[in-house]
Each structure stands twice: as structure tokens, then as C-alpha cells.
């Protein structure tokens, strides 16, 4: 059983991760984790201490568990840039801040880093209103550059085709054939995938609360900084870790919102998709990084996520996820592993690490932290 511990500041509860049923277990390892959660409350997604929290929590967890593999995410700059008006110098200062924070982790931990940027950001241009179509357009995963179209009419398709802001209308079969090896996951794909031109977002039904200022930039390639070797594609990064983990302590570090142009470490180009498709910061990009296989269709953008959110749905603390993904990077490592990040509800699923601690935020509201212990048998 995987255990989940919620820390809501001065208050903790332990659950079975799968069922959400409250449990009470105790061990020195669990005490180490829960005490760390109590000691390190999450400052919040927009707080400039959010990235420092990642480093500090990871260093504490290393001190308490002595892992050989670490998976980290630094996301503060992505959240702030998405919703704030920033000058170029303010953005440069934020990039500098995340650079120092990651370097502090590397210097203090002594781990060999594999640092990946998820892609840069560009100013938001405008919305493409698809709320009045005959069919139903949906966006998911913050990735409103993509939308799924369900039950679209001929009139919808003609209307969309005439919009210069729409880059591409991809029928389900065409999308499927681009990632033919992923057919098993393809049952959730909408009838059409709508792709907006850079800077534009589909305005679908849904919550359009906060005013978006920046959106993910086109990112056919993402930056990769490591001394471990070369990875020409996002699916090769996992292999770098696998090939050296037996003799090297490795930290796979994801830095959100940074692309080829603003990545502050010396880096190489790493392909971030296939053909016309490239990943935006999303569950799919994380899973592709950590499994070494394309995961475009597992929880595809624009799918009818709400249909699956029944009373029977398991993993209530894990967002869209309906099961623990198989063969993720840390799940295949014999040695100990941890994950820490300020991207909510994904670290424990995407990494497969023995222990993960992540912020628990919903719609950017800070609800505390979530620790997940998948493995207790390595101590």
C-alpha cells in the first residue's frame, strides 16, 4: 500500500493513496517524512520562496533517507510568468533566481544533475472563442493551446478552418497515427484536436479566472544540461539516468517555463515531440520524460476528464490519474529514490520515487503539502 500524508499546517492526516481511506501507520521512516513536512510548510505558488522550498525539502529528505536518485521540479517562475505582467529584467531576475536555487541544490547534494527545461514562454496574444460551437470544445491540463472537439459539426469545422489563429485541426485517426505505438492509450482522444497558433489560447467552457499573461512558447526542442551523455529526444532522457544510476548519484531536475533561449546552463537541444506535435508543460511531458516513451494519449488534452470522475475513481489525491503509471524512472531503480517539487499532484505519480513530497495546491490555492511513500522496504 502506498501511503499519502497531507500536511495542512499544524495538522496532518495519513491515507491509503489509492482509496483515500484514512490509515494510521508509524515507523521511523514515516516519522522522518511527517516531521519534515511539519518543518517545511509550502510558501505558495506565487511566493518567491517556493523554489527555495524545493531545494530545502530535497536536501532534508536526502539527509534523512540517503537516496541515489532524486527527481525535482522547480515551477515557481512558470506560475508567476503565466499570470503576472513582467518586464524583461524581472523575468531575467527570476531566471537567475531559479539558476541559483538549482545550483545550490547541486552543490550541497553532490548529485550529478540532468537538468531539463520544459519550454519557454511568450506573451499571450488573444483567445480563440470556441464556446459557441455546435460541438463541445474542452481544454485540460492548463494547456489551452490545445483543445479537444467532441461532436463537432461540419459547420464547426468550417468555422475553425477559416480562423487564421487556428494552426491545425487534427482528426483523431491522424493524431493516433502520429504516435502509432501509443494506440493502447488512445481511447480518450477527442474526435478532433485543435491546435492554436503560438500565443493564442482556446477559450473553452471552463473556468477563465485569472488573467493569463504568458503562455508556453513553441517548443519543438527543449534544453538539456548534463554531463552524463546525449539525448536527442525527450524519450532518451530516461536512458541517461538508467545507464549511469548504478555508479552515479543522479538528480533529474525539471525547470518549468524555461526554453532554449533562456536556459541558463550550457545545454544541448532535445527533441520535444514528433512531427508537428510538441509537448507543453503537462502531465504528458512529465510522463514522457520519466518513462522514456511518448505518453501523449494517456490523459490527452481536451478529453472528457469529468466522465471518469465517478464515486468509484481511485487516487483522490492524484488529480486526473486513475492509476500509478507503470515503469517510471524511479520505480525501476533498486537504490533509494526521492522526488520533491512545487508542481502539484504529479511528482508522486510521474516519478515512481520511494518517497515524494510535493506542494498540494488546487487552482494555485495553497493547501499544504502531500507526501507519498510508495516503498518502505529499502530501509
Amino acid at each position: 500500500m502506498s501511503l499519502a500524508v497531507i500536511d495542512a499546517r499544524e495538522w496532518q492526516r495519513m491515507f491509503d493513496l489509492r482509496t483515500g481511506v484514512r490509515v494510521e501507520e508509524d515507523s521511523p521512516l514515516l516519522r522522518m517524512v511527517t516531521e519534515l513536512q511539519a518543518r517545511r510548510p509550502y510558501p505558495g505558488d506565487f511566493d518567491d520562496a517556493g523554489n527555495r522550498w524545493v531545494t530545502d525539502t530535497a536536501l532534508d529528505l536526502i539527509a534523512g533517507y540517503d537516496p541515489s536518485f532524486v527527481f525535482l521540479t522547480y515551477a515557481w517562475q512558470f506560475f508567476v510568468a503565466r499570470y503576472s505582467v513582467l518586464t524583461e529584467s524581472e523575468w531575467a531576475s527570476m531566471v537567475s533566481s531559479v539558476y541559483e536555487e538549482v545550483n545550490r541544490f547541486v552543490a550541497r547534494s553532490g548529485f550529478t544533475p540532468v537538468i531539463v527545461g520544459t519550454g519557454g514562454m511568450i506573451p499571450f496574444v488573444d483567445f480563440i472563442d470556441v464556446t459557441r460551437l455546435d460541438g463541445l470544445a474542452l481544454s485540460t491540463h492548463w494547456s489551452a493551446r490545445h483543445a479537444g472537439l467532441h461532436d463537432g459539426s461540419r459547420r464547426d469545422l468550417e468555422y475553425l478552418a477559416a480562423l487564421p489563429e487556428v494552426e491545425r485541426i487534427v482528426p483523431r485517426d491522424e493524431f493516433r497515427s502520429l504516435f502509432a505505438e501509443c494506440r493502447g492509450d488512445a481511447f480518450r482522444i477527442p474526435e478532433y484536436l485543435l491546435v492554436a497558433r503560438p500565443g493564442y489560447l482556446f477559450h473553452t467552457v471552463g473556468g477563465a479566472f485569472r488573467k493569463v499573461r504568458r503562455v508556453p512558447a513553441p517548443a519543438h526542442a527543449i534544453p538539456l544540461a548534463t554531463t552524463l551523455g546525449e539525448a536527442s529526444a525527450i524519450t532518451d532522457v530516461r536512458g541517461l539516468v538508467d545507464s549511469r544510476i548504478s555508479d552515479t548519484k543522479i538528480a533529474l531536475i525539471v525547470v518549468e517555463g524555461l526554453g532554449m533561449d533562456d536556459f541558463p546552463w550550457p545545454h544541448r537541444r532535445c527533441g520535444n515531440g514528433r512531427g508537428w506535435f510538441y509537448y507543453e508543460p503537462s502531465d504528458a511531458q512529465y510522463l514522457t520524460l520519466t518513462t522514456g516513451r511518448h505518453k501523449v494519449f494517456e490523459y490527452p488534452t481536451g478529453y472528457k476528464y469529468f466522465k471518469e470522475d465517478t464515486e468509484e475513481k481511485e487516487y483522490p489525491l492524484s488529480g486526473f490519474f486513475t492509476s500509478v503509471p507503470e515503469d517510471t524512472v524511479a520505480s525501476g531503480i533498486e537504490a533509494r529514490s526521492i522526488a520533491v517539487g512545487n508542481r502539484s499532484m504529479i511528482m508522486h505519480m510521474a516519478s515512481g520515487a520511494d518517497i515524494s513530497i510535493e506542494c498540494f495546491a488546487r487552482n494555485l490555492f495553497n493547501q499544504g503539502t502531500l507526501a507519498v511513500v510508495h516503498r518502505m522496504d529499502k530501509v
Binding site: A8, F15, G20, E311, F365, Q367
Partner: protein, 335 residues
């Protein structure tokens, strides 16, 4: 000319727009400035609104507009509710009432619930929407701060059949300092009226060292109106102007609520992940009639419904329920 939608009764003469900035005076008539423009139209669990005793398990279309007549210092939706509504219209979607109902059906929704901001700031649009919803057999509910005039409270009653009214505090000092209104008297008056007009639940956010001393007084007031009213006590998330403030202590509030449960049986304490206070217990025998899981911030979900209709399966006592249990995918077209 004077606006009569809420108790501010703002003067709308000339270019004056009033507190909520959602109405303007035009040719002697109060005109809605941004009709049919929605900040939100998203399918959601009715429990997440929160409604714990209305159509349990159902999927509702949560809608909202812009603007508010309150200035709560801790507002979680300040980026919609506190902004100048004119300045955020580019982020809104425009859907006429028939279009909105069609979208609700496409998303398999059973009801429509106004959330996000205050419905009194968009009442003309909601009156029209209610006509369409009624024709489509879709119930409508809302969250309201209940600062409406007596006249518009009746309008709320004509639009919505289930309400969750915010009762943020009773003391004038708290209401002045944290909410920006002179007193809670109109709210108290309207809560009594809403309880008569439809199904009513009440929500109170607890602000550490501000209204936590009023918990029992508020509970007694609600029990006096009707002891079967479900009461949602929210642990405040220090947002907006209160960023950096203390998170209220969960255990301390829970201790106070244990006493309250004796005379207000449907008391809930949530807005934090994993709360133990989200199940409906039978007031007669204590059996768990409805089991839920809370993710905080509008993330509550039904886990199991153990009632027999609106009765406790163990002792047969009636449980306050507006509507029956609805399966989550009941509104989906068969595939």
C-alpha cells in the same frame, strides 16, 4: 436613481456605477452592464460548491460572472470579484441562456449553480437563464452573500431552488473590518427568508483571531432559524489582502464544533484536504449516511451514499435532503 438589488442601494445617477460596478442607470432604469457574460462555466461536483444536502453525487454546471458587492479581505476569487468588471471582460465568454443550457446538457450536467461571485450583481441575466433552465428541467442553485434587498431576495427565490448563504460573522466590527459592510443585519434577515424560500445551507469562513470567537453564537443563530440547516465552517485560506496571515488552527475549531454538533447536527468543517468533518451523520443514531472526501478549495466529492432515499438506513430517521441521489454520469448520453 437608486439600485435596489442589494442593501448598498447605490445611487446610479449619471455615470455612477455603484459598489459592484455591474449596473448602470439608463433612462430611469437600472441596466445590467454585462449581460450573459460568464467568467466560469465548468462542470463540477455539487459537493464542491459546497452543497452537501442537495442532489448528492450530481454534476452541476458552475457559472459565475464578475464583480461583487462585498470587499472581503480574504477573497479567494478576488481576480474576478474585486476587479473592475469592465477590465476583465476580455476573459469572459458570452453565452445566451439557451446556449448555456445547451452547453450544460452537452457536459451532462444535472443542475446549474451560480458560484464565484455574488448572483445579485447579475440578476437580470439569471432571471432569463432560470426560465430556460426551468423549461429544460434543470434546477438552479447559488452561493450568495445574502446582502440583497428584500425585493431581490424574492427574486433570488424565483430563480434558485437551493441556496448556500454566506454568514461571515455577526458582529458589526468584524463585518466592517473584514467584509466592508456596516452590519450583518440584512444578511441575517435574508437567511431567515431564504430558509423559507428553498433549500438552504450556510457557510462561514473562520478567520483566526477575528471571528473564531463567534462560532457558537453563529451556530445558535442558525439552529434558531432551523436546526436542520447544514452549516459549512470553512478554514480560511489566507488569500488576497490576508496573504501572510495565520492559517486557523484546525484542532481548536474542531473542539468548538464538537459542542455545536449537539444542537446543529449537520455541521461540517472543511476547505482543507482530508477533513474528518465532511460526512453526514444521522442525527438519530450517528450512522454515516453520506460519506465524502475533501480536497479543499472546492474539491469535495461524494464517496458513498448510504441512505435509503432521504432516510437513515440504520434507524429510519429522516435526513434533510433536497432532491435525490444522482449518479455522476446520469446526464451523459448513452454511448
Amino acid at each position: 436613481m437608486q439600485c435596489t438589488y442589494c442593501e448598498w442601494r447605490c445611487e446610479l445617477t449619471g455615470s455612477r456605477l455603484g459598489v459592484c460596478r455591474m449596473y448602470a442607470g439608463e433612462n430611469g432604469v437600472v441596466r445590467e452592464r454585462f449581460p450573459y457574460r460568464w467568467s466560469s462555466s465548468i462542470p463540477s461536483k455539487v459537493e464542491s460548491v459546497p452543497f452537501y444536502h442537495a442532489w448528492p453525487g450530481s454534476r452541476c454546471l458552475v457559472i459565475g460572472t464578475a464583480g461583487c458587492n462585498f470587499r472581503c479581505r480574504y477573497c479567494s476569487n478576488s481576480f474576478v470579484a474585486k476587479q473592475d468588471p469592465a477590465a476583465i471582460q476580455d476573459g469572459m465568454v458570452e453565452l445566451t441562456p439557451p446556449e448555456l443550457i445547451r452547453k450544460a446538457k452537452q457536459m451532462g450536467c444535472h443542475s446549474i449553480v451560480f458560484n464565484v461571485n455574488e448572483p445579485a450583481v447579475s440578476l437580470p441575466s439569471l432571471v432569463e437563464l432560470a426560465q430556460e433552465a426551468r423549461a429544460a428541467g434543470m434546477p438552479m442553485g447559488c452561493l450568495t452573500n445574502a446582502y440583497t434587498t428584500e425585493e431581490s431576495t424574492e427574486m433570488l427565490g424565483s430563480v434558485f431552488s437551493f441556496f448556500n448563504a454566506g454568514l461571515k460573522g455577526l458582529s458589526a466590527a468584524f463585518n466592517r473590518e473584514y467584509i466592508g459592510i456596516p452590519s450583518a443585519e440584512p444578511v441575517v434577515r435574508n437567511i431567515r427568508r431564504l430558509a423559507a424560500l428553498g433549500h438552504l445551507e450556510v457557510t462561514t469562513p473562520i478567520v483566526e483571531s477575528a471571528n473564531d470567537g463567534e462560532i457558537e453564537e453563529i451556530a445558535r443563530f442558525i439552529a434558531n432559524v432551523d436546526p436542520e440547516i447544514p452549516w459549512h465552517v470553512f478554514r480560511l485560506l489566507p488569500e488576497d489582502e490576508m496573504q501572510g496571515a495565520c492559517y486557523p488552527n484546525i484542532d481548536a475549531i474542531a473542539r468548538t464544533l464538537e459542542k455545536v454538533r449537539g444542537y446543529l447536527p449537520y455541521v461540517y468543517f472543511h476547505n482543507f484536504v482530508g477533513s474528518d468533518w465532511v460526512n453526514t451523520l444521522c442525527p438519530g443514531c450517528g450512522a454515516v449516511v453520506i460519506e465524502r472526501f475533501s480536497l479543499g478549495c472546492g474539491g469535495d466529492r461524494l464517496c458513498s451514499f448510504n441512505g435509503q432515499g432521504n432516510r437513515c438506513r440504520s434507524c429510519g430517521r429522516e435526513i434533510r435532503l433536497h432532491g435525490e441521489k444522482i449518479a455522476w454520469n446520469a446526464g451523459e448520453a448513452p454511448s
